[in-house]
């Protein structure tokens, strides 16, 4: 679990790694549904890292953290469901 005091540079490395992984996983995967699920879950995880560590939502009022994270969940659900159904 990342600590609140995790350095921005560490977060950046994780974000870069996740971006590279999701791109090449999506391109190379033979299982389209799993790949789609994975890329959107990774996108939501990356979004959470940016919101918590870069936007510093951990220092914001709790309702903002809740609302912003709810948006991430809603986006993930929408995009995964939309592609799985299709």
């Amino acid at each position: 679990m990342l600590k609140c005091q995790t350095k921005p540079s560490t977060i950046w490395l994780i974000l870069m790694a996740l971006s590279l992984f999701s791109t090449f996983f999506a391109e190379g995967s033979k299982h389209a549904l799993y790949a789609i699920g994975a890329v959107f879950i990774i996108a939501a995880v990356k979004g959470d890292l940016v919101i918590i560590h870069y936007m510093e939502a951990r220092h914001a009022a709790p309702h903002w953290r809740f609302m912003y994270r709810s948006w991430l969940v809603a986006m993930g659900v929408l995009l995964i469901a939309g592609h799985v159904i299709g």
Binding site: Q5, P8, M16, T23, I36, F40, E56, W71, L78, H83
Partner: protein, 198 residues
């Protein structure tokens, strides 16, 4: 980078990062984009073949490059905000310049991509997918330009306003907006470039 720059001085709950106005504005902007994504998905379900075939005309590496530019720019903005809190003018200037440069690289990459598509005869009226491609990336592009304008404003006011609470709040607000622009691309990139193009 020093470990003490990461920070406890904003843990005072009376001094949240940014102002409540920017948190409100960004959230409403997020909701608007969510609705655009909802409409994109509904169209994709209606025209799956057109969307799949059209998505193959996008280059994932171009989208990845854009993501890397924005993520790195976001990191620079974080460092700029931290430096603002330390009143370290040269560091703020450096990181703001880098953030702007990376933003410009994103914008340049996007413009090259647009011109390539247009040269291939693709436009917002080509089909449903490209309507959304140009609309969503175009709206995002406007946000990128807006963010760069705000960052430019902060860069210009740096030497005269650094040290004031007003400037610190301004930097935090601009930073929050820039990170939001970054978060948007984290979803736009896989949605348009990666998912469903097989």
């Amino acid at each position: 980078m020093q470990s003490n720059e990461f920070r406890s001085d904003i843990s005072d709950h009376e001094d949240h990062p940014g102002t409540s106005g920017i948190w409100t504005f960004v959230f409403i902007d997020m909701v608007v984009f969510f609705l655009f994504f909802l409409v994109y998905i509904s169209e994709r379900l209606r025209l799956p073949d057109i969307f799949s075939v059209s998505q193959r005309q996008l280059d994932p590496l171009t989208g990845l490059a854009s993501a890397l530019f924005l993520l790195t720019s976001s990191w620079c903005m974080v460092e700029a905000v931290h430096a603002t809190r330390r009143n370290a003018e040269r560091a703020v200037a450096l990181y703001l310049n880098l953030a702007l440069l990376l933003g410009a690289l994103f914008a340049g990459n996007k413009l090259i991509e647009y011109s390539d598509k247009i040269a291939l005869g693709l436009s917002p009226v080509s089909n449903g997918f490209f309507t959304f491609y140009f609309l969503i990336t175009g709206l995002h592009f406007i946000h990128v330009i807006g963010g760069m304008v705000f960052m430019g404003h902060c860069r210009m006011r740096l030497s005269t306003e650094l040290g004031s609470k007003n400037f610190r709040k301004k930097m935090e607000n601009v930073g929050l907006f820039w990170h939001f622009v970054d978060v948007l691309w984290l979803f736009i990139f896989p949605m348009l470039y990666l998912a469903g193009a097989k």
